[in-house]
Each structure stands twice: as C-alpha cells, then as structure tokens.
C-alpha cells in the first residue's frame, strides 16, 4: 500500500510542479469560466436582469399622415391651440425613454402618433425636433397607478438601446435591413394615427355623431434581419410596448364611447333636436349646441361644460389655465396613466425556489459554468494522466520500477491511484479558485458551492474516479499512444458538448449521456442548499467502476513493457 501511495504522490508532485500542465488544468478552465460568467452573469454587479444589448442599429420610416383634431373635432382644439406646458407637454427627454413616465399631446398642426414613435426612438433626430407631436415627462401629472420607484425592469434607456436612423423611404429602409446596416426597420403606415385614435371615427359627411366603430389599428411593420434575431426581437418588443400604450389610449376612449352611447341610446342626426354645427364651427357654436341638447341629456350637458371650460367660454384658444382648471391634476393624472409604461397594479415577482436562486446572477452562472468547465478539463487530465505510464516506459523508469521488488499490479494501481488523486486535487483547486473569483467579482466573500462539505468531497471523489476511469478506458481502447492523442480529446469534446461545457445545452435525454451533466447537476443541487445527490453519486460511481474495470482489463493487455 505504501508503494502505491508513493507512486501516486510522485505523480501528484510531478503534475503540480509542471507549469505547462497547470496552464491547461487550472488556468484555462478558470479563464473560460470567468469569461462565460462575465458574459452572462451581469458583470461586476452580478445582478443584471439579463444579457444586455446597446446601440442596436434600427431604421424608422414614418409615413403616418396623422390626424388633425381641429379638423376632425370642430373647434374643440381650434387653430392656434398649443397644449405645451399644460396637461401634456411636447419635449421628450431621451433618458425618460423606458423608465420614465411619458405622455403626449396635440399641437395645432395635428396629432401624429407616428411622430411620437419617432420622437421616442430617435429623440435627437431633426425629424423628432420638427414633429408636430412628441412625448415628454415634464409637467405631467403623476399617474397614481405607477408605484414609486417602479420601472420596467430594464437597465438601459431606449437612447442607449438603439442607434436609430430616421428615413423617409421604406424601400431604402428595407434595403438597409437586407444589407445588414440595420437590425430592423420600423415602418409606420400612413393611416396609423387615423385608425388608432377614435377621433378618426367621427366626422361623417353630414356631421352626425356616428357610433364609434371598432378600431382597426393599421399594424406597424417591424422588418427584421434574420441574421440578428436577438436585436430584432428587442426592436419588436419595444415597438409592441409603445404601440400598445397608444392602443390603451384608444381603448379607453372607445370603450367609453361604447358605454356612453349604450347609456344614451341610439345617436343619429334624427335623434337630435337640431342638426349639429359643422365640425369646423367655432367652439362657442358647439358649446351652445351641446347646451341645448344637454337640456334633456346629461352627457351633452357635460360636454357643453367641457367645451365651454376649455375654450374659456368664447372662441379663443385653449389655455393652460383653462386646462388646469377644467381637467385638474386628479383627472390629468388618471389620463396620464394611459401613457405611463409602468402603469398598472398587477406585477409579477420571480421568487427564489432555492438558495442558489437567491445568489447574484454571476454566482449562479459560475456554479453552472464553472462546474461544467472543471469537469471538462478534468477529463483531459484523466485521459492524459494515464498516458504518463507511456512516458515512464519511454524513459525506462517504468521498467526500473518493475525491476524492483514491486509487482506489476502495485505499479499499475499506483499510477491509477495517482491519476485519481491528481484529478481530485484539480477539482478541489478549481472549486476553490472559482469561488475566489466569484468573491472578487462580487466584491464580497461568497462560497458558491453550498454544501455540506462532506458531500462536496464525496462528489469530487466520485467524479475523479469516473474521470480517471474514463481515461483508463480510452487509453485501454487505443492501440497506440498517438491514437489516445486523437481520440482522447474527441471523447472529451463530445462529453463537454453534451454536458453543457460550451455554453449551450442539448436536450436532457442526450445530456444525460455525459458524466459532466451528472456532475454539474450534483454541484448545482448542493449549491441550492439541497443534499439529494445520491442518484448522481451512484451514476458517477457506477460509471467509474465500469470504466475502470473494462479499462484496466484492456490496459493490462496493451501495456507491453
């Protein structure tokens, strides 16, 4: 037994004093794990919501002709109306893009939702500056449905997320996408505002107040490059989010229209006591008309009050004071919710299921990746460690050993034990260094492997036996040393690919064929605070025993002194 340990100790010392071997055994897996964990673990903070993207090149083409409330709604918003600085404001700050609370308003020249989309996605563009309609978070009453401090979960503003180019030609935008210049082009159709906003549903030729028809939102097209699926999906999600907000506004008004009309009964020209004025008639004329209708209908009375209040009782433009006085912060705040991205009382919180999920993202990734890399590189040690016997033979030290009163079995057992011990030490060092790197990156001491320590040790021992056994099997199967040099890495690469060592995961049925899967699963289980790794230990131990059994039987036949 002492001889066996002497041979094993010799291998251990020889291996860990060879700087070249340490490069592949320790440095490479540590570097690789750190790179992967940094890439997917949220960097130094270690708690980012996910892989980040920035400066995604996109193009936007706004063909939206907008709607003109002055034309569509008579003098409710007469020419010259400027709502800047009132309930809603027009100047959007880019920083407010995702996490801010934004809102919109119309100017005298029309209401163009396409312009708003441009001003959100390309706030610094000349087109946004010249647009008739845009967004702002300034002067906006607070939406009470946005919880304080809430955000969308992103840590990037739209300004950082996209590098937006505003184009006027859809063909050029499509060509840019096809040529790889843009990840996606957002193409806003000409009737976008007209159909998303209910104003457009009024305006029958005879001036009658028609029933509000179901809205038919002309879809915005996101034309994406197939080669940039991730960037394209981000562009799609953001566009859907913004357009969804606009539709919310339309939805509120349409639903209100539905309900009001239902409560008032049929509404057509004949039902009215007198024909309504022209849509372009002065506000005063509309107010008078509504007031007369309002004698028998409270809704009309309310509308008369609103028109009168907003226009100051005459035909002058709507003023800040009129808006504030007649709308007020409470209603203004409620209306602001229609444009607030975080508005809504229902939220979803991802709760941790185990201790590992409570850890920072970097640590979680490190447990998965680090254990996979550690076992993957241990495989190389296992295979090439056995080859050291061939080196000993070449240098005649093996023959000298056998010339001493040492049996062939003792020598072989010593070498194989040495291989197991070398792998065990490699795993232990890697686990230690990986937790050290995690502590360094997260700037606090953290032991990422959970425990208990005896199970960790047992697991590493089972992996070492399995890995070293595989090494013996590969070497035993090969006829020559050169074949091991070829087939060893091949076997390891496949086990690594199946076991998730390369950053991608195969279906479980295939993954379970790799000992790396069983090992990493056990490491992850221990990191979660659970201790049920007995199946993993059994699988690894049985595999190890089988590999060793067959491998040693073959190897003894091959080892010609």
């Amino acid at each position: 037994m002492r001889k066996i340990w002497t041979i094993a100790a010799k291998d251990l010392i020889a291996t860990y004093t060879d700087r070249n071997l340490l490069i592949i055994m320790l440095l490479t897996p540590l570097l690789l794990s750190t790179i992967i964990a940094l890439a997917f673990g949220g960097g130094a903070s270690g708690d980012s919501a996910g892989p980040s993207l920035s400066d995604i090149p996109i193009a936007i083409v706004n063909q939206d002709q907008g709607i003109n409330p002055a034309g569509e709604m008579g003098s409710l918003l007469p020419p010259g109306t400027d709502l800047r600085g009132t309930l809603f404001d027009l100047s959007l700050t880019s920083e407010s893009a995702i996490t801010g609370t934004d809102t919109t308003t119309a100017t005298s020249s029309g209401f163009n939702i396409g312009d708003v989309l441009v001003s959100i996605l390309a706030p610094d563009s000349p087109q946004a500056a010249a647009s008739t309609t845009s967004f702002s978070s300034d002067n906006l009453p607070a939406c009470p449905l946005v919880a304080e401090g809430s955000d969308s979960g992103y840590d990037t503003t739209l300004d950082q997320l996209f590098n937006t180019t505003v184009l006027t030609d859809t063909t050029a935008a499509r060509a840019g996408v096809e040529g790889g210049e843009y990840a996606a082009a957002i193409l806003i159709p000409p009737d976008f505002s007209n159909r998303i906003m209910p104003f457009g549903q009024f305006g029958a030729a005879d001036g009658a107040v028609a029933e509000i028809a179901p809205v038919q939102v002309a879809p915005v097209e996101v034309y994406a490059n197939a080669g940039m699926p991730i960037e394209a999906s981000v562009a799609r999600a953001v566009t859907e989010g913004i357009v969804g907000q606009f539709s919310r506004m339309g939805l509120a008004v349409q639903g209100l229209g539905d309900s009001a009309i239902e409560s008032m009964g049929p509404m057509d020209s004949e039902a009215l006591a007198e024909p309504p004025p022209a849509l372009t008639a002065p506000a005063g004329e509309w107010q008078a008309f509504l007031a007369r209708q309002g004698e028998n209908n409270a809704w009309f009375a309310a509308l008369a009050g609103l028109v009168g209040g907003l226009s100051g009782g005459n035909d002058s433009a709507v003023t800040d004071e009129n808006m504030d006085e007649n709308i007020g912060d409470e209603v203004g705040g409620a209306l602001a919710c229609l444009f607030a991205p975080g508005a809504g009382s229902i939220t979803i919180m991802r709760e941790p299921v185990n201790k590992l999920q409570e850890q920072p993202r970097f640590a979680r990734v490190m447990v998965q990746v680090g254990s996979a890399q550690a076992v993957f590189f241990a495989l190389f040690t296992g295979v090439f460690g056995v080859l050291s016997i061939y080196d000993e033979r070449k240098q005649w030290t093996l023959q000298r050993m056998l010339a001493s009163p040492t049996s062939r079995t003792t020598v072989l057992t010593g070498f194989l034990t040495g291989n197991v011990v070398v792998v065990l030490a490699q795993l232990a060092l890697l686990m230690l260094f990986l937790t050290g790197i995690s502590s360094l990156i997260l700037r606090r001491p953290i032991f990422i492997w959970g425990g208990p320590w005896y199970l960790l040790l047992l697991l590493m021992a089972a992996i070492s036996i399995c890995v070293a056994g595989l090494g013996v099997l590969v070497v035993g199967l090969a006829r020559r040393e050169e074949q091991v040099q070829v087939f060893g890495p091949m076997v390891n690469m496949f086990l690594g690919a199946l076991g998730g060592s390369f950053g991608f995961y195969v279906p479980a049925a295939l993954a379970n064929l790799s000992l790396i899967t069983w090992a990493t699963d056990a490491f992850r289980t221990l990191a979660t605070g659970e201790t049920d790794i007995w199946l993993n230990l059994t699988v690894l131990a049985v595999q190890g025993a089988l590999f060793f059994g067959v491998g040693v039987w073959l190897f003894r036949k091959r080892l010609d002194l």
Binding site: N20, T28, I35, V222, L338, E351, F494, F504
Partner: protein
C-alpha cells in the same frame, strides 16, 4: 518559390498521412458543428407538447378566471394544474388530488413535477384604485435557468400587460366620467341617478373594454428577411458554422507550435537548414503549410454549413478573403509564439488555452450581441471577433468586400505584426 512549395507540400503530406489528423481536422469539427447546430434547433422543438405549470388561486373571482382564460389563450401549450389535469394525471398530482397549498406546490416545483408555480395574490380582484398601494404581486416560482428566457413567465407577463391595460383604461375612463358627472351637475343635470347607476355604468364600461382588448387586432406585424423563428436549427448553424470554423482553425493552426518544437527537438528543422534553402524559404514553406491547413479546416466546416442549407451569402470572394485573413492572423500568432515554446507539452497546452479562450471571447460560441458592452469590447482583442463580424456581414447581410474592409484590415494588420515578431524571433539552430 518551388522550394517554398516543396517544404509546404512536404509538411502537408506528413500531416495528412497521419489518420489522427484527419480525425482532428474533419471528423471532430464536423460532428461538433453538426451537433451544435442541431442542438440549438432541437432544443426549441423537442419539448413536451404541454408544459405543466401549477396555478394557485386563493380566492376565485371573475378576475382570476379571466387570468386563467387569457393565459390559455396566450400560450396554448400550457397545462395549468390542477384545473387542466386529465384522466391520465398529466399534472403529476399525487393520487390525482388538487393542490391545496402553496408549500405543496412549491415542493412540486423543487421535485420537478411541474415546470413552474404561479400564485395569484388574495387581493388580485381588488379595485385597482384601492389596490395600487397595497396589492401584492403575482409570485412566480421555477427551477428554470434565470439566464434563459422562460416561455411560461413570458406568457404570464403578456397576460398581466393585457390586464393592466384594461385596468388603466378603466381607471382613466372612469376618471373622465366622474369629471363629466361634475360638469353635468354644474349644468343642472346628473349622469347617474345614484351610486348603483354609476356602478352599472362602470361594469358596462369594463365589459366594453375587455371585449375591445380581447378583439384587438395585431398591433405590430413582424416580418424578416428570412424565416427567423420557423427554422431554429438553421439559426443554430448560422452561428455554429463560422464560430466552430474559427475555433477549429485555431486548434489546427496553433498546433503548429508543437510541431515546430518537435521538429527542432528531432533535429529535422536543423537538417532542413543544411540544405541549400534560405531561412525565409523555410519560414514561408512552413507558414504556407499551416495557411493551407487552416483554409482546409474552414472549408470543411463551411461545406457542412452549405450542406445543411445555411445561406453563405452571395459573395464567395469576400467569404474567402475573411477566411484567408483570419488564417493568416492565426498563422502569424503561431509563428510569433513558436520560438518561445520550450517543450511540446507547453506548446500543446498553450494551443488549447488560446483556442478555448479566444473562441468564446470573440463570439464563436454565442453572438457577441448578447453579452454586455464591456465584454464586447474585450472580445475584440480576439481575432475571432473580427472574423465573426465579417462573416456576419457576408452571410447574414449579404455584404461584399467593401463592407468588410475594416475587419480585413484589422486581421491582416495583426497578421503582419505577428509575422514580424515571429520572423525576428525564429532561429533554426536555437
């Protein structure tokens, strides 16, 4: 020139005479590329037809019922347990029983009997205006890897977005109605005779909103230059082929460090110097051999890519130019490092270290677009990143030579510098 060709041909002959090298250059890269590309695709399609997700509803109301209905509508592959359990106990419920408590359901998540657990809060149906300050969030539990997108969580978030949209529209709309009521009162009228009438109106309004929300047409039409989501396997290959190509080129070409070390140890390099050939010819011949090997390696993997149907762009010369520039760069790196290798083992281990770190760093294993900006910047230390950028422009965007001039410039510039270092350090008799 003939001498250079002879040296290169000789090295190539020796290389391909060894069957093991065929395995390294053809078999392993081919199988790994196929496996990788296939794995990406199959990962999407091979799951079960239905995914189990437990749903715990402490207080059943119309609102919770709507949540369930919409969740089913949004994701037809979800089996919400226990309500969707069937005669075959697809929900894996013990004795077909209902899930009584959150703790028991949580245990099912931990044991893998269900993919996720969604717990609706008791105040889920509370009036939103009252609930905003106190409402509890919906709790979501799953063993899913938090780094990967979750189809269940995404579906639940879509439903929540819908519900919030309706809530907000109702809230804003009713605020307007109350304003109207005040205005009507000022005109001596009233919209609602009493509170019950207002409640009736609110109910009608909510019904109208829900109807409109559920019948809302698609807001955004998503189209792509080529099918993006239908063929995920192809997507996998579009990343795997250039990525694995670049990685295996590094393995193959950087292995030259060990070969040069061995030739020096075996005195064959020194013997070559005895022949009437210049140092430059020897170097050029050796570099030529590894350049050809690198190109062969790329062609093997890209042939696999073409065979599985990935579009290789319309510009073959540009594609070849990138391959050539990258191989030259790696060959330069090989010759810059080779003179400093003391042992074959050191060279072999350095080859693996460099290949296995520069490959993921440069985006060979995953697109650099999904890593943080600082990792993207660091990644461009690796020549792989420049090659991948160029491949992306050609293969994915049908770019041409004019689109990849920067990448070619960087790779060729690096190659020139590395070759310069290598030539200066190269000693035949060292």
């Amino acid at each position: 020139m003939r001498t250079i060709f002879t040296i290169a041909r000789n090295d190539l002959f020796i290389f391909f005479k060894q069957p093991g090298n065929w395995v390294s250059v053809v078999v392993i890269p081919l199988l790994l590329t196929l496996g990788l590309g296939w794995a990406f695709g199959v990962g999407e399609d091979s799951g079960p037809e239905k995914i189990n997700a437990d749903l715990v509803i402490p207080v059943e109301t119309a609102a919770t019922q709507r949540f369930v209905t919409r969740l089913h509508a949004v994701n037809g592959s979800l089996r919400l347990c226990p309500m969707d359990n069937d005669a075959e106990n697809a929900c894996n419920l013990e004795d077909g029983q209902a899930i009584p408590t959150v703790d028991q359901a949580l245990l099912r998540v931990q044991n893998g009997r269900t993919a996720a657990l969604i717990v609706l809060p008791p105040d889920f149906a509370t009036e939103r205006e009252q609930a905003i300050d106190n409402s509890s969030p919906i709790a979501y539990y799953s063993l899913e890897d938090p780094t990967l997108p979750s189809p269940i969580l995404q579906s639940a978030q879509t439903v929540v977005q819908e519900l919030n949209g309706t809530d907000v529209a109702e809230y804003a709309g009713m605020a307007l109605v109350d304003l109207f009521d005040e205005l009507a009162e000022q005109e001596g009228q009233t919209l609602f005779a009493d509170a019950a009438a207002r409640e009736n109106f609110a109910a009608t309004y909510r019904t109208a909103l829900v109807r409109r929300m559920e019948n809302q047409p698609e807001l955004v039409n998503f189209t792509a230059t080529a099918p993006m989501s239908e063929d995920t396997t192809l997507q996998g290959f579009e990343q795997a082929v250039p990525g694995m190509g670049a990685m295996f080129v590094m393995f193959t070409v950087l292995a030259g460090m060990a070969v040069l070390r061995r030739e020096r140890s075996d005195w064959t390099l020194q013997r070559t110097a005895v022949a009437p050939v210049s140092r430059a010819q020897i170097l050029a011949g050796k570099a030529g051999a590894y350049f050809v090997l690198g190109m062969v390696q790329f062609l093997v993997i890209f042939t696999v890519g073409a065979a599985v149907g990935i579009p290789l762009g319309r510009n073959a010369p540009a594609l070849l130019a990138v391959m050539a520039a990258f191989v030259l760069c790696i060959t330069g790196l090989t010759f810059a490092l080779a003179p400093h290798m003391r042992t074959i083992g050191q060279a072999a281990n350095l080859e693996r270290l460099i290949s296995l770190t520069l490959a993921p760093l440069g985006g060979a294993w995953w697109p650099l677009a999904i890593v943080p900006p600082f990792m993207r910047t660091i990644g461009h230390i690796s020549p792989v990143a420049w090659a991948m950028d160029a491949f992306q422009k050609i293969i994915w965007f049908n770019g041409g030579l004019q689109d990849i001039l920067l990448e070619l410039g960087v790779l060729l510039g690096a190659a020139a510098v590395l070759f310069g270092i290598g030539v200066a350090a190269f000693r035949i008799d060292a």
